[in-house]
Amino acid sequence: MIRTLASRFLGYAILIFFALVFLYPFVIQIANSFKTEANAAANPLSPIPSPFTDDSLTRIFEGTGFPTWLGNSVLVTVVVTVGRVLFGSMAGYALSRLQFRGRKALFAGLIAAMAVPPVVLLIPKFLVLNQLGLYNSYAGLIVPLLADATGVFVMKQFFDSVPVSVEEAARIDGAGVLRTFWSVVLPMAKPALITLTILMFTGSWNEFPHTLVAVQDPSLFTLPRGLADLVSGSLGSGTQYPLKLGAALLATIPVAIIFVVFQRYFVRDASAGADKG
């Protein structure tokens, strides 16, 4: 009895320790965003800002390009998420259900595309954006992100796991492929679509390397790009940790909200990855 109590206690001690390790950095981030620079440097660990100041927030909105970055991030994320979900489910459906020439080759290509590491595409993407005249434009920022191999794959796996009977019934009723897809298949795929939407939302909201080679005009920066520039800071602008932490905090909030609200979908998507191999 005592033994189980002790081990229970130990178990919780470990849990609480790790919870601190994983969450306290965020507490520090929030607290230091509202500290003065001197206070942040002197008491980095303290969770309570004293004195409390929202000076850094004011400077984020008035002294940096933050409002522009935020606007661009929202635009890019919305368009990219819609694009990826739509194109991903269309292609996933076709690869799973429709009989057409080259389907197998396309699927093999898709598997290969998933293995292409994004970081080796930095120079290649820059070259192609230049060649197409899209460099340093909204089109260059958005269009290359509109489709994503993983999204197609996830949707194909989903459709593979759903019985065909409902669609077949619709088809017999004389509905065309497009009609069936739009009014029968998509509504049925709602859970998968939600998962995919969340996955793609966080992915495009956090996207950084692509913006590095797609644009260079500060008016086209998204949040991660603007933040990265803010941090590498020009000579003389100082460390300004409250400002940087505050900007990073604001950039994290949307994802945090989505995460808390749609938690169970996140977990599902990560474990979906476990079946991939």
């Binding site: 440097a41 080259g102 197998k104 080759a105 093999a108 290509g109 820059f126 192609v128 954006l129 230049n130 060649q131 197409l132 005249g133 899209l134 460099y135 340093n136 080679v213 260079q216 005009d217 500060p218 520039d229 590498s232 800071g233 020009s234 000579l235 003389g236 602008s237 100082g238 460390t239």
Partner: protein, 414 residues
């Protein structure tokens, strides 16, 4: 059968993609001379490598004023990393019309044809200091006019100086005195000296010892010499004994920040520190002295940048007008006031000295200053040298110098 069909499909797809992309090439394949020029009001994009908010604001204000009088638009953007940003912009054929070009990077841009050699025929070009113009001459062509100049000097925090029990008599004029003053400051628990961990700061000691990274004509690597070894060994001694620290070791982005925060009693920085301290740390009391002399006498480094105009700009004529306005004697003096650099024009120098008696040390330094290494393809070699200097505290000075020579030889030779 299937695999074959797949391969064929991929080939067809790739081929059609290449064809598609060829139609819409965004690259400007024409030579620089044929870039379409637009007359009348221009929309100038200006990229600057700002030393801080003071400089950014001053340039933005001046540009705004030029814009209202000329009827053109002028947008000034401070770059976080101008080399990277400019590199992408030039490759993307979307360069800013006007941009700062550092003397150390100048030859790279000139050699690939990215710069318009407007300065040759710019009215009033005679007024600029000849040695600065030399920094922006490539293959006997003057490409751009120097925007200003600055030199390194020693800044001393007078409060900390007194706290360490030091007086004006202790202001170091030699390496030995610098060391002994530093020891006294350290004894009081204060970091004596903040010095940037790059060739652009440490290099001053080489000059004081009678050496330098490259030969005077800039064509040969001369780092591995007894003078340079002596200089680096001296700096290494300061670092090892905690008499000098690199800014990062003090949680600062640069030496001026550490100095401004009172984390170090002395700093070795250039004219720009004045504007930065005024903006960020207005309460600090300090004085500026010439750098202590080494075994071979006084030595410092000078820096300069020019107003480059892109060969691919559509508004070259307006850009030249803009540069003329930015480099007028009055405007240069206004910039001096705003962020502390020295004018690059002879006709503005005298007024500058009158207006800024505190800058005597910087002005004096200009007399014996060594200019930057100025040859194409040296950037990665110099960056590697900086890496060596970052690790100077534990490295073998001779090895650092030999490595530079080896790398520089292949860059300069090739």
């Amino acid at each position: 059968m299937n695999g074959l069909r797949g391969a064929a499909l991929a080939a067809v797809l790739a081929g059609s993609l290449v064809a598609a992309s060829a139609c819409g090439s965004g690259f400007d394949d024409n030579g620089s001379t044929t870039t379409q020029q637009s007359a009348g009001p221009a929309d100038l994009k200006i990229l600057i490598a700002s030393s801080g908010p003071a400089e950014t604001k001053a340039v933005q204000d001046a540009a705004a004023q030029w814009a209202t009088t000329s009827g053109s638009k002028a947008t000034v953007t401070p770059a976080q990393d101008i080399v990277q940003q400019l590199g992408q912009a030039l490759a993307g054929s979307t360069p800013p019309d006007v941009f700062y070009v550092d003397a150390a990077r100048f030859a790279d841009y000139a050699s690939v044809g990215a710069l318009e050699p407007y300065a040759q025929s710019m009215p009033g070009v005679e007024a600029f200091l000849p040695n600065l113009k030399q920094s922006f001459t490539y293959q006997d062509k003057l490409y751009c006019v120097p925007k200003d100049t600055s030199t390194l000097a020693l800044q001393i925090n007078t409060d900390l100086w007194q706290k360490a029990g030091l007086t004006d008599a202790d202001i170091p004029t030699s390496w030995e005195q610098l060391r002994s003053a530093a020891q006294k400051i350290k004894a009081k628990g204060i970091t004596p000296l903040a010095i940037g961990d790059t060739r652009d700061r440490v290099g001053a000691f080489l000059v004081q010892a009678g050496g330098y990274w490259v030969s005077p004509d800039g064509k040969q690597a001369t780092a591995d010499s007894p003078q340079n070894v002596e200089a680096l060994t001296y700096v290494q001694g300061l670092l090892k004994d905690g008499l000098a620290k690199y800014p990062k070791a003090m949680d600062a982005g640069w030496a001026g920040e550490a100095f401004g925060k009172g984390k170090a009693a002395m700093a070795i920085e250039g004219n720009w520190i004045k504007g930065a301290l005024e903006a960020d740390f207005p309460n600090i009391k300090y004085t500026v002295k010439e750098l202590p002399a080494g075994p071979k006498g006084k030595g410092t480094l000078s820096f300069t940048q020019c107003w480059g105009i892109a060969a691919k700009s559509q508004f070259k004529q307006q850009a030249v007008a803009f540069v003329q306005s930015m480099t007028s004697a009055d405007q240069q003096l206004a910039f001096s006031k705003a962020f502390g650099v020295m004018p690059s024009r002879q006709d503005a120098q005298a007024t500058y000295q009158q207006q800024n008696p505190d800058d005597a040390a910087f002005v004096a330094g200009a007399q014996y200053a060594q200019g930057p290494v100025n040859a194409p393809k040296m950037d990665s070699v110099l960056a590697d040298l900086d890496t060596g200097l970052q690790g100077l505290q534990t490295a073998d000075p001779k090895a650092v110098l030999q490595r530079f020579d080896k790398n520089a030889k292949s860059a300069l030779g090739g």
